[in-house]
Symmetry: C2
Subunit: 497 residues, 2 copies
């Protein structure tokens, strides 16, 4: 107990839970320079993106065509979107397409840059740096440019675009999160709010956390350090609890922004402080300017951010490597068109069923060397024992020419439960009644001790299949066989499955 | 297609689905005699039991104390039963206890009989047969005796016992089952009826079927024949569909009655016809007599029938054989006190979790022979890959004295999925970055072909751990080791888990 406590409260544990204690003592001016640069760059990406996502959380994707009155479910969304397509505002459509095109072009330009520009002539270096900065802060650049265009039209009283309009000015107030919601038709209490979330209440945090961990792992692997999932969970959890007092949307890790952070050479979590400062300054001083941001520009930012997550090559890879794994993939994918949480739950359930099926129907290989040798290709758990016994009855006992002796090779049985023990007891009884000698081989010591304590009458076990064969046929039997005829334990020659 | 059809409609398939085609052609007079005896005996057991269960389906277990107005949930049942215990009718209590005692005594007497009475003197043989018959038909004997006692009291206008009272006379009418229910406070429609069943709608048929199959298997094993679970399902399903037109309660197999059937030497399903005849005759002609059956006697019949199912020795067995399996047992047992279906569902869920935990946390054994050899003790599926990789990082790469080379022995890996493939890819990358040589051994051909198609860079596989060791240390390495030092594949010497 004392050692647990000491371990719990050691400086190393504290360092793990408050990582600032680990990096602050080593902090240098060089780190500060890099963290500032990275932090501000991320800030320029995050402000327009945050504005765009704030739009999407309230409104569906009609945010680029300028359509209104569209319901939430995907099928209906698609239907109504096409149904009302005639109402499309030409200004929104043109601006949205131009912004999307610009974002794609800027991204591609940045990709085309040579990795090291130090050896280039001065002019090329300056150009390269401009392209690199514009490419990284492309969201901010496109949104600012679109806003300027919108401002010009508005100042001449030409209402071409749907604008963001008035947004709440200044920093959000620090207050308890709302535990009830007042609507026009009465108050929604806390339990009703929870019920409205439905399965999302479990799925959204789960997906958010899994995504964050996946991102953290990807960058940890790329930059050669390791992460502690528990610490990530604590960090995301406390951020969200604190955030809820500041009217924040739930936060998780972002692949795109982490990539920007990493590429601009962030050295410590202090980069996040610089990003935070940019966000707070925007909220404090720039919100009046947000009025003129066209919604079509924000929609373009989101479409470009999300489309990079979409990777069709995985289908080809799964087809090549393991076709069965396409099934949960496709079910999740199609289910998400209905509702995202149903898609994810269906994928999880199907993966579980496939896993369970593998356990319930272990592969059995049977070879006949005078004595029949039956190899279980994987473990033997309670969902499988019935099937395995039935297979033995059908394929061995009820065969046209039943053998005198059978060896059941249990090399791969790593754990055993009481139902399995009872199944084996019944199997042994049935073989005794049919007067067929049944020997077991290769049980792991742990499994054998469970079987011994169950006192199964007639259980005969040998340390190896060879020993069992020698017991049946005498010492010379396996020596007399050709090398190719030897029923080696992990060879598959001669076995039919 | 044609062969499937031919197979489907062959006489053998027809025989399997209509077993009467198999046994009727061989039917003999000897079989008829045995079937009649067994059928009538079962009938004498089933009529009082059916009456008793009909009571219990409508009323809870207060039926032996003569209490009323007790709610349904177990905790509350116990509380109210004891709360209202002062209202106990002395007549019911005494009769109930006497009937229970009689039933137990008759059962014990029957058990004490010698198995073969043929060699005994005539008088002993007659006595033995009387005891045997009374023991077998003990339910009928006790109920008839109790009814006679009740009749005597009632005829002298002394209302000592709660009686069964008027029961519907004659055979039940053949009619469509009710798809709605009229209550005093309105009509309950079909969907509401279904909702009222709740989880029971799935659990009751499931448990009923599982119980029937378990009973069928137990007697099949004892009498040396095999059953076809599909055929049992068809038989139970069609009985229940037909039964629903005759106001029947749902039927499943009964352990006690099957035991009576088996002990009295039933030869074919024709025994069931004799039992059915006894039941129909009772319904047609004996229902007026049912008026005088005391409910306390029926309660005693149920308590004795149900208590034989209760077997505490299983706890000792599970403790001895596998303590972990006590957990789902106890959770089911305790959950059933809340509501039976919750108990069963909790037991199923916990068994699933234990199974899943075994998959997600495979045992890993690590041995150091200069080269570190890591043995996976069971399969490697997607829930486990993260854990296994982390264990390798922590226990091998971050060890005080990291090795130059590691062999991962995958003998027990019988199937692999895409998540596992990706995990192994990352594992290989990490080992490459740390400049530790990672070799794989003993992959099964099926698994190896998946890994090959995934084109994992740096995957090096050897057919056996010895081959991998020889590759690392030269041909003579394993020969130079002591016999006891050889890292044999399915030996556990030298491995720490």
């Amino acid at each position: 107990m004392a050692s647990v406590l000491r371990n719990c409260c050691s400086y190393r544990t504290l360092e793990r839970r408050l990582p600032i204690l680990a990096w602050l003592p080593h902090y240098s001016f060089q780190w500060l320079r890099m963290d500032l640069l990275a932090g501000v760059t991320v800030g320029l990406t995050v402000v327009p993106q945050a504005l765009a996502y704030a739009e999407i959380a309230g409104l569906p994707i009609q945010n680029i065509l300028g359509l209104r009155d569209i319901p939430r479910q995907f099928f209906w969304e698609v239907y109504y979107t096409f149904h009302n397509i005639a109402e499309t505002r030409v200004g929104d459509l043109v601006l949205g397409l131009v912004c999307t095109l610009l974002l794609v072009l800027l991204k591609m330009m940045k990709k085309q840059l040579p990795e090291k520009s130090d050896q280039l002539p001065l002019l090329n270096r300056v150009c390269s740096n401009i392209v690199s900065f514009t490419g990284t802060a492309r969201n901010a650049v496109v949104v600012v440019a679109a806003s300027l265009v919108a401002y010009c039209f508005e100042s001449q009283d030409q209402h071409m675009f749907t604008l963001t309009g008035k947004t709440a000015q200044g920093l959000p107030p620090f207050q308890l999160p709302a535990f009830s919601d007042s609507l026009s038709n009465g108050t929604v209490c806390f339990t009703e709010m929870l019920q409205n979330f439905g399965a999302g209440l479990a799925v959204v945090p789960l997906v958010g956390f899994l995504e964050s961990i996946a991102i953290a792992k990807a960058f940890a692997s790329q930059n050669n350090y390791r992460i502690d999932p528990n610490q990530e969970l604590i960090a995301i959890g406390s951020s969200n609890i604190l955030g809820s007092f500041l009217s924040s949307y739930p936060v998780t890790g972002s692949f795109g922004r982490t990539a920007v952070n990493s590429q601009t050479g962030v050295c410590s979590p202090a980069g996040g402080i610089a990003t935070g400062a940019v966000v707070l300054l925007s909220l404090a001083f720039l919100t009046p300017l947000f009025f003129y941001i066209p919604k079509a520009a924000l929609a373009a930012v989101i479409i470009c951010a999300v489309s990079s997550v979409f990777d069709l090559r995985i289908v080809a890879t799964l087809w090549r490597v393991k076709k069965l794994d396409l099934l949960p993939f496709l079910i999740s994918f199609l289910g998400c068109f209905w509702e995202i949480q149903y898609g994810i739950l269906a994928g999880i359930a199907l993966s579980g069923i496939i896993l369970f099926f593998n356990i319930a129907r272990p592969e059995i290989k049977i070879a006949n060397y005078g004595t029949v040798i039956v190899q279980l290709q994987s473990g033997l758990n309670f969902p499988a024992v019935e099937h395995v016994c039935d297979q033995l009855y059908q394929r061995v006992l009820e065969a046209a020419n039943p053998p005198h002796s059978v060896i059941l090779d249990c090399l791969h049985v790593s754990s055993i439960d009481y139902t399995t023990v009872n199944g084996l007891r019944e199997l042994i009884q049935t073989f005794q009644q049919k007067r067929v000698c049944l020997l077991f081989s290769n049980f792991q010591p742990k499994v054998l001790s469970i079987l011994t304590s169950a006192q199964i009458e007639g259980l005969r076990h040998f340390d190896s299949t060879e020993a069992a064969l020698q017991h049946l046929h005498g010492d010379d039997y396996t020596d007399d066989l050709d090398e190719s005829e030897k029923p080696l334990l992990h060879r598959n020659d001669g076995f039919s499955s």
